[in-house]
């Protein structure tokens, strides 16, 4: 036991003095979390107050319906800019990306709205508008148009029915909203809110960094083998399993430290830069279980890599490539729900996907131990398999 303590202390000293490793394990994921959370903030919170800008040019001044203007100025999720220039200039600004859309209400639009020859609204999109945003904006405008059109039709019907006819139901157009009650199962404090990018980015980049522990671990192990330190320790009667535990325990600690550090970044640092704060869910045991099994899987994988490679260069290249593949497949870089069905099926073979599923179960779905049991078991089995192969490989190499 004392031998193990000396091995752990030695690894800790070596790691603390390896600033490359510290940057890789702690600074890189923190920076990724910060950048990606802030960069993707708009995409994730399109419906929570962050607007896509557009110009609204009303050339039907005086005649335009008040409801129409009110509706077009308050498109949900979009923000209208004052049209302080003529249409060609506004179009040029949209082309330059100063706003995403230009919406022109043409002269005579309101008067001809319910006629046989309507004068259509003109919508122009910036060249790099995505199809999803384009269609969302188009649908929002259509919704406003439909409401105003319906109002005009109802007025016309009332006029035609004569004074003695019973009145039409007095349904205000805004009353339509009462016909739909909506909620998100992601709620906080009883209020319906939407998850921000930080909920995805913290666990994603945390897992990415945890698996990068293979680089410092392999480098130290390879150097020990090359410099004869491993042989010296063996000649001192220290067993291979003790040496393996001497790596497993301290690096497990480092991974758990990463978990704590990155959660703190999500909770405190991201909001400090103007992003949304990470919310941790309500099950500490589930979060702790995921942290431990993900650390175990990452360190066991690192031990396997450290034993398979023979040089530090091999360790760095292999870990870099393998981790990028696991991350790309596992939903770290692109959320898995946007992947095609076939790729989603393949992505389930990435340990990072299991880890991400588990953390998202806690952070998004408010899951407890029962919900994370599946991904936790997958990670545990993966880690155990890595350790078994490592042990077999060490035995084989010793015999050689």
């Amino acid at each position: 036991m004392r031998t193990l303590l000396y091995l752990i202390r030695k690894e800790a000293l070596l790691l603390v003095r390896d600033w490359h490793a510290l940057v890789l394990l702690f600074v890189m994921p923190a920076v990724f979390i910060l950048i990606m959370s802030l960069a993707l903030q708009n995409r994730f919170s399109a419906q929570s107050g962050v607007h896509i800008k557009y110009y609204l040019l009303n050339r039907d001044a005086g005649a335009a319906d008040a409801d129409l203007l009110k509706g077009l100025q308050g498109l949900n999720g979009f923000g209208a800019l004052p049209a302080t220039a003529a249409e060609p200039e506004l179009k040029a600004r949209v082309r330059r990306g100063e706003a995403r859309f230009l919406l022109v209400v043409p002269r005579g639009f309101t008067a001809a709205l319910a006629s046989d020859n309507p004068v259509p609204l003109r919508m122009t999109a910036t060249p790099d508008a995505s199809a999803a945003v384009y269609r969302l904006f188009q649908s929002s405008v259509r919704e406003v148009l439909a409401r105003v059109y319906l109002k005009q039709v109802m007025h016309a019907l009332s006029d035609q029915r004569g004074k003695d006819a019973p009145p039409l139901p007095a349904i205000g157009l805004d009353e339509v909203d009462r016909l739909l009650v909506s909620e998100s199962l992601y709620s906080r404090g009883g209020k319906t809110v939407f998850p921000s990018s930080v909920q995805q980015n913290v666990p994603a980049w945390l897992l990415f960094a945890m698996f990068f522990i293979a680089i410092p671990l392999s480098t130290t192990w390879v150097r020990e083998r090359q410099q004869g330190t491993y042989m010296r320790l063996r000649s001192m009667g220290i067993g291979a399993m003790t040496l393996l535990a001497g790596k497993l325990v301290p690096y497990l600690g480092v991974n758990l430290l990463q978990v704590v550090a990155m959660l703190l970044v999500g909770v405190f640092v991201v909001p400090w830069f103007g992003g949304d704060a990470l919310t941790l869910g309500h099950s500490w045991p589930a979060l702790a279980l995921m942290a431990v099994v993900a650390s175990f899987a990452a360190v066991a994988y690192a031990l396997l890599v450290a034993n398979l490679v023979t040089t530090s260069e091999q360790a760095t290249i292999f870990t870099g490539v393998a981790n990028l593949l696991m991350a790309a497949l596992g939903g770290i870089m692109v959320p898995r729900f946007v992947m095609p069905q076939a790729l989603q099926a393949v992505s389930h073979y990435s340990p990072m996907a299991w880890g991400l599923d588990g953390f998202l179960d806690v952070f998004l779905r408010d899951g407890g131990l029962g919900l994370v049991a599946g991904p936790a078991l997958e990670l545990f089995v993966f880690g155990t398999a890595c350790l078994v192969v490592t042990g077999l490989f060490m035995g084989w190499r010793r015999r050689r």
């Binding site: 004392r2 031998t3 303590l5 000396y6 091995l7 202390r9 030695k10 000293l13 070596l14 003095r17 390896d18 090359q226 410099q227 004869g228 330190t229 042989m231 010296r232 320790l233 063996r234 000649s235 001192m236 009667g237 220290i238 015999r399 050689r400």
Partner: protein, 297 residues
């Protein structure tokens, strides 16, 4: 202390045996030199003796067992941690071996001359100091049997002298030392007994002086200024085993009296002696004689 019998070892995938039918005895308290060119099997033999490799065949007996005699290895490489200081390295290696005596670290630092460098990180030490640290780590467990594998490779003469002196002191204190090297001068000045390895075989072993005077090296060789006349050459046959080969006379056995008479005879014939040699000049020549190759090949 060490008894090795018909030991053989072949690395997996290799067609040649790294150690071939090697038998060896090393007595307790000796300073045994294991000499051989690079690739001759020295490190393999040391690894086998330390139990780091399992022999394919043969036996190794270490009196009382390796654990009982506290054997230690000082490998050829700098087998410590660059990012730890001298003191941190010593504390770590003492700790993992279960060395509890606090004074032991101070003692080995004194022996290896590392007192003034204890707080310096190993990566900043000179080559000579690194070698001393490598040696110091090997001494932490107070070994009764110490294997040193090329402990002076790549260092300056001053550090080399220091290390050789330290090894002498360690041996004088009762530790059996097996000193593996390809530096024949070191082995010649340091060791009282040597074994010469070549291609995995022990081609010679024994007392250094005896080896230098053994085999063809036991001949007396006399070089003359010119060839002796035929009559004299024939007359010299009275000396048993004397051969005349041009201007060189060789003699297998010769008493001091015979030698005196021979020189008198040559002087009478007016033949000047240009050189006289008995035995091998050094280990280099002995190795050349035994293997037909240079030690540094």
């Amino acid at each position: 202390m060490i008894h090795v019998e018909r030991l053989s070892y072949r690395y997996p995938g290799s067609t040649q045996e790294a150690i071939r039918e090697l038998s060896l005895d090393i007595g307790a308290g000796r300073l045994f030199g294991l000499l051989g060119p690079n690739g001759s099997g020295k490190t393999t033999l040391v690894s086998l003796l330390m139990g780091l490799l399992a022999p394919r065949s043969g036996r190794i007996d270490i009196a009382g067992g390796k654990g009982a005699v506290r054997a230690a290895l000082v490998p050829q490489e700098y087998a410590f941690y660059d990012r730890l200081s001298v003191m941190e390295n010593l504390r770590f290696f003492a700790g993992v071996q279960g060395v509890r005596e606090t004074g032991r670290i101070a003692e080995v630092m004194e022996t290896a001359g590392l007192r003034s460098f204890e707080m310096i990180r190993a990566e900043r030490l000179s080559g000579g100091l690194k070698r001393r640290l490598n040696l110091a780590i090997g001494l932490l467990g107070t070994p009764r049997l110490l294997f040193l594998d090329e402990p002076t490779v790549g260092i300056d003469p001053q550090s080399r002298r220091f290390i050789l002196e330290a090894i002498r002191r360690i041996n004088a204190a009762g530790t059996t030392v097996v000193y593996s090297s390809h530096y024949m001068e070191e082995v010649q000045t340091l060791c009282d007994e040597i074994g010469i390895l070549d291609q995995g075989r022990l081609v010679a072993r024994g007392n250094l002086q005896a080896l230098l005077g053994s085999g063809r090296g036991g001949q007396l060789s006399i070089g003359l200024e010119r060839e002796p006349p035929r009559s004299l050459a024939e007359a010299l046959h009275e000396y048993e085993g004397l051969k005349v080969n041009g201007a060189e006379l060789t003699l297998d056995h010769c008493s001091p009296g015979q030698l005196q008479r021979l020189f008198a005879r040559l002087a009478e014939a007016g033949l000047d002696v240009s050189r006289v040699r008995y035995g091998h000049a050094d280990l280099e020549e002995l190795f050349l004689h035994l293997t037909g190759r240079q030690l540094r090949d």
